[in-house]
């Protein structure tokens, strides 16, 4: 295994987190968007509540534009993808050009979505590229630490989002097992005590506790 600096370890972790955040929030957004076409114009309020983000939007159209595409809105999908890109672009020598290219392609598709009247189609391509990014990372990154740092970022983010969305026990259990089985083989500094508490919180299906512990797991 190669050597990784603390800075790159942190970037790999956040690359995993932001890529997952974009992927999962697009999936959620697609459902809300569909409902808002002709069924529930205020569905976005429920969306914000579930994700525990401020509902600063004035209408469904305002939500669609600003939640999805406003780079100035820190909670937007666009801003989160930009953060994934900001981490990826400084990791070329760790993850390789082939892997980095999928984040770049996701950014291009997001910029197409900004211009589109039917954004779900290009947003689907953003997701496709994120899946390809994870697959490429898994397939081509030789350094196990590098691969695992990204994966743990992804798992941490997924647990956080799933807890906020109050996903079912099967999904939560699967994610905590994936996380616990891998986190030792990373370059990340994490707390074993917090990991134990997190496992217990998942066992109890205590969503609030899961969100608290998952944020405390990896020391920044």
């Amino acid at each position: 295994m190669g050597i990784i600096s603390v800075e790159n370890s942190d970037r790999l972790f956040w690359l995993g987190r932001y890529s997952e955040r974009v992927y999962t929030t697009i999936s959620l957004f697609k459902k809300s968007f569909d409902a808002m076409i002709d069924f529930d114009e205020h569905q976005y309020e429920e969306f914000c509540r579930r994700l525990d983000i401020p509902c600063i939007y004035e209408s469904k159209d305002d939500f669609i534009r600003r939640y999805c595409f406003d780079g100035e809105n820190p909670n937007s999908i666009y801003a989160n993808l930009q953060r994934a890109y900001d981490n990826a672009i400084v990791l070329r020598e760790e993850i390789g050009s082939e892997t980095l290219a999928y984040i770049q392609l996701a950014v291009y598709e997001m910029n197409r979505a900004v211009q589109s009247e039917a954004p779900l189609v290009p947003l689907q391509k953003v997701q496709d590229n994120l899946v390809a990014f994870w697959g490429q990372a898994d397939d081509s990154i030789e350094d196990q630490l590098v691969r695992n740092d990204i994966k743990i970022g992804k798992r941490v983010e997924r647990l956080d989002l799933y807890a906020r969305l109050q996903m079912n026990e099967t999904a939560m259990t699967r994610e905590i097992h994936r996380l616990a089985g891998r986190i030792e083989n990373t370059s990340l500094h994490y707390s074993k005590t917090v990991l134990k508490k997190l496992e217990e919180a998942v066992e109890k299906m205590d969503y609030r506790e899961i969100v608290t512990e998952v944020e405390a797991l990896v020391e920044g």
């Binding site: 600096s5 370890s9 070329r92 050009s97 980095l100 770049q104």
Partner: protein, 439 residues
């Protein structure tokens, strides 16, 4: 040589360049922007015979420049023998008094040199500039070749073109040759540097670690890379892509936050190699350029193979008279500027601008050089579906390990403006691949 198959792939190749983030950074209105570097698929083609001639001249030039820098920071024989006036050496912004008496590992000061040339309409090649500090650009034709081969395999099957993707191997060899023991790293100022793509791509391709100053530390007279556990891994070679003044706040610009405190001290002691070596900017000064043919004769006792563009140094009385008399026919360059900045054409100035410039020239004659405007050959490019001629230069890369190596390719930059001679990417230019034919 018609390569319609490749030309038809222009869009595909540019899409691939975009996919892999092949960009350069630029500051406009105080905002950093990443831009794609437009690629033109019509290559510059250099025959094997022509390249052998260029190679001979480039090796000769870089050897002489290395001798010169070593001499300047040690015995100064060339100054004592009145071949280069001391005013040109010590007034150069690239001359660093702190480098006096320092001998870098293996005595090499210019490991990676980017030599800019143009070809005149008479077929003669002229050297325009020697870029010895942190020359950039090799990564662009290297990755473009990869995509051209992918997009048009039959073009490369049909023609005998030397593979240029060995640049990373040459660079690795150059870094390993001077490595004093330990890891090799590429030191970048960070993502917001114009050439950040190149830094990261070369790190990937050479297997070197890409680092910023905060990831390195000097302890016990050695340089270390700090890993995630806090363990310190020794570093023996640093291909630094930051300029001298920011390299070490303890030795140079004390306000630098991107350098590594005390790195210069351990370099002086021979405990780490810095590529390129600090202080080598004394030889890529546009004023010193004038003297390179004299250096070749002085150090190598050979006639220069490659010519300089006809150059005048207003510091000399006769040259000043010539410059004033032929002002409208000359291009004037501020020796402290780079990247196409500080270049003005005499015939493009208004009467008032000309008067102001001449006043400045008389006040600071050492600051400028003047060159004849070489009517260099136009190279075809594709512009909105049409083939049109444009001005282009060639940046050749010479790497110095146990002997100088000339990369059998180069960065061909062209102006997209039909009226402009300025080819720099920061000024809107594009680039081409440079093919060297193997037979």
């Amino acid at each position: 040589m018609v390569n319609m198959d490749l030309y038809n792939q222009t869009e595909t190749v540019n899409e691939l360049l975009a996919r892999y983030g092949v960009k350069f950074g630029i500051y406009k209105d105080q905002t950093f922007k990443e831009q794609l570097f437009p690629f033109d698929t019509i290559p510059r083609i250099i025959t094997n015979q022509e390249f052998l001639y260029l190679e001979k001249g480039l090796k000769q030039r870089v050897l002489a420049l290395n001798y010169f820098i070593n001499d300047i920071y040690s015995e100064k024989k060339i100054v004592k023998d009145n071949v280069v006036p001391e005013e040109f050496v010590y007034a150069s912004s690239g001359y660093l008094p702190r480098c006096e008496g320092v001998c870098p590992p293996k005595g090499i000061y210019a490991h990676i040199s980017g030599i800019d040339l143009v070809q005149g309409k008479d077929g003669e090649w002229y050297i325009l500039e020697d870029n010895l500090r942190v020359p950039s650009g090799a990564s662009y034709p290297m990755i473009a070749r990869e995509f051209c081969r992918r997009s048009s395999p039959k073009t490369f099957k049909k023609h005998h073109i030397d593979d240029n993707r060995n640049y990373a191997d040459m660079l690795r060899k150059t870094m390993d040759y001077v490595n004093t023991g330990g890891h090799t790293v590429i030191l970048t100022p960070g993502r917001y540097n114009a050439a950040y793509f190149e830094h990261s791509y070369l790190a990937e391709k050479t297997g070197a670690h890409l680092v910023t100053g905060s990831e390195l530390t000097v302890e016990n007279d050695h340089l270390y890379y700090i890993d995630y556990t806090g363990k310190k891994e020794p570093v023996g070679a640093v291909y630094r892509r930051i300029s001298d003044e920011y390299l070490d706040p303890m030795s140079f610009n004390e306000e630098s936050v991107i350098g590594i405190p005390h790195i210069y001290d351990i370099f002086r002691k021979g405990n780490v190699a810095l590529l390129n070596a600090p202080g080598n900017g004394v030889a890529d000064d546009k004023g010193i350029y004038y003297f390179v043919p004299k250096m070749i004769r002085y150090y190598l006792d050979e006639e220069p193979v490659l010519k300089n563009a006809p150059t005048y140094v207003p510091y000399y009385k006769d040259d000043m008279a010539y410059v004033l008399e032929h002002f409208d026919n000359l291009v004037l360059k501020d020796v402290a500027e780079a990247g196409g900045y500080g270049v003005v054409f005499g015939n493009s100035m208004s009467k008032e601008q000309k008067a102001d410039f001449i006043q400045l020239l008389k006040k600071e004659p050492r600051r400028f050089i003047a060159q004849e405007v070489i009517d260099f050959v136009d190279i075809d490019i594709f512009d909105e579906g049409k083939v049109v001629p444009r001005k282009a230069d060639l940046r050749a890369f010479v790497l110095m390990a146990d002997e100088p190596m000339v990369w059998r390719s180069g960065l061909t930059r062209f102006s997209r403006n039909p009226k402009s001679f300025i080819v720099n990417s920061s000024q809107g230019g594009g680039f081409k691949d440079t093919w060297v034919l193997s037979q």
